[in-house]
Symmetry: C2
Subunit: 342 residues, 2 copies
Amino acid sequence: MAVRKGNSYQQKKKKQQSIDTNILFKGLIKGDNTALAKAITLIESSRPQDMGLAEHLVTNCLQVETESVRIGITGVPGVGKSTFIEAFGTYLTHLGKKVAVLAVDPSSSITKGSILGDKTRMEKLSKDPNAFIRPSPAQDSLGGVAKRTRETIILCEAAGYDVILVETVGVGQSETLVHSMVDFFLLLKLAGAGDELQGVKRGIMEMADAVVINKADGENIKAVKHAMTEFKRALHLYPPKENQWIPKVTSCSSLNNLGIDAIWEIIVTFLEGTKEDGHFEDNRTRQNKNWFLQTIEEQLKTRFFDKENVKKHMKEYLIGIENKTISPVLAAQKLLVQEDIQ
Amino acid sequence: MAVRKGNSYQQKKKKQQSIDTNILFKGLIKGDNTALAKAITLIESSRPQDMGLAEHLVTNCLQVETESVRIGITGVPGVGKSTFIEAFGTYLTHLGKKVAVLAVDPSSSITKGSILGDKTRMEKLSKDPNAFIRPSPAQDSLGGVAKRTRETIILCEAAGYDVILVETVGVGQSETLVHSMVDFFLLLKLAGAGDELQGVKRGIMEMADAVVINKADGENIKAVKHAMTEFKRALHLYPPKENQWIPKVTSCSSLNNLGIDAIWEIIVTFLEGTKEDGHFEDNRTRQNKNWFLQTIEEQLKTRFFDKENVKKHMKEYLIGIENKTISPVLAAQKLLVQEDIQ
């Protein structure tokens, strides 16, 4: 909660800051990257006064009409995500697109090893005037990461970026999270000996709109062909998606810039189909409504579990459940009552 | 909330009912099916005074040491779940086991077509003195179904049932729910032409500890062999489970009682392995802790979304989100504040 201060100070402060967000918004919609970076910093802030301003800025940005596409990109470490994004992003800027690259990396607060922290991994793209790369900041929770990324997408779109690439390293629930905020979900894979799907987390395959076998170069090409057959077979076994899209399997060499155009073709076909039949817009609206409900649910949980009284009794109930001295439902009822009478 | 009444009435009422639950508990652990049925009716009750008593009864039952196994059984309509359970259950009672059959059917409140409503579908088993079949009652929510089924499992185990079969029809989230309350999850399938996995909902294959191709009889046998190969291949592509169990694929003819023993063999092998390495007990403890946390989260949500003030504003925010006149996070913040100042 905001600490109450003297009224005149409060008003002055408010005035100063609302001027700031107006300037930010104006700069942003003109495509000023400095304004965009400042706006993202504002939504990353945890200061109560910033949070209110940030939400009004996001609301303003939401109303800017855009024709953007949001693409999630995932794959295990070593699959070549950075090299792929470098090649794919550069291909898109050459087509005249403005490309923003964001990262969802809930691990960076622990390991401090942000996946996009090192812009040098995308040397060409980071110097490209039509590309905007935002490294993943240290965050304390998946909820925090989700909020920041979803809002950053809105800001980038208002700033005129046509293609938003959201990279994820695939820790914990990060793929599900990225899937819940993009239009198209791309799974990068390597051809390997034996089990082609090993290393893909449970449920990820089912989310993919396209599986791209990377590093299709040199002596690897035969193995890539085999992997493609395996993936096609596996994807074929899944029931159809709600939007009737049949996930595609393709390969590319990010190193040699081969097959990159075919990936964009797939996405364009997807966009044409889903925009025509309304699934594209339906999906975005559903994502926004879920985002609203999730925000409420998270807040309700945080408020409850952060209470001193709840924290104090939580442990003893968990021990009771482990020792079977109390039923889980009874423990829950007791904890809810204890919180009420606090 | 309970309506407050005169103190003497309240005490008398309480005394009457606590005698009842003591009798119920004593009858239950003696294996009296009438007591068991009454106890289940008590936990299904939504009267506030019953709910308190029910939780104490469940807590008592939790402390009864048992060696039970909980098996989830799912499959699309027409796969032959009832016939399978009839054959499998009868096989188990012949081995000297006591078998309880429960159902998770969140649809029954809408369609009134409870999957186990008609005991005649398991004619032999329903007459077997060592079997207990409990039809699915009409429930208003998945949370209600979950609570009832989890607690009914505990009651059945305290009543001496060794094998708990939990059948689900696979509507909505019911498979995930059943998976979260059993030790072993069995997916029934039919051999069909073409896509063997069609009709299996997303994510269900990954939960299966065994896939059983039913109706392996007559002219179907060749198709069953083909289906088994397909499923083995598909399961092989998934990453290993945490407990290192490799899902098995087998077939059976419920009609001719063929292959039923092999299914029990698989489950016995699973139990031996997971009990030895501790995964069995770990899984149950984790399930109970999740149950506790889920109960709290559901209660927090119900309390919030049932408030008149929240209901009133909910619609307008959802419209605002659809029209993009408010950011989902701002809408959530406003709704949370409105509820606070109610």
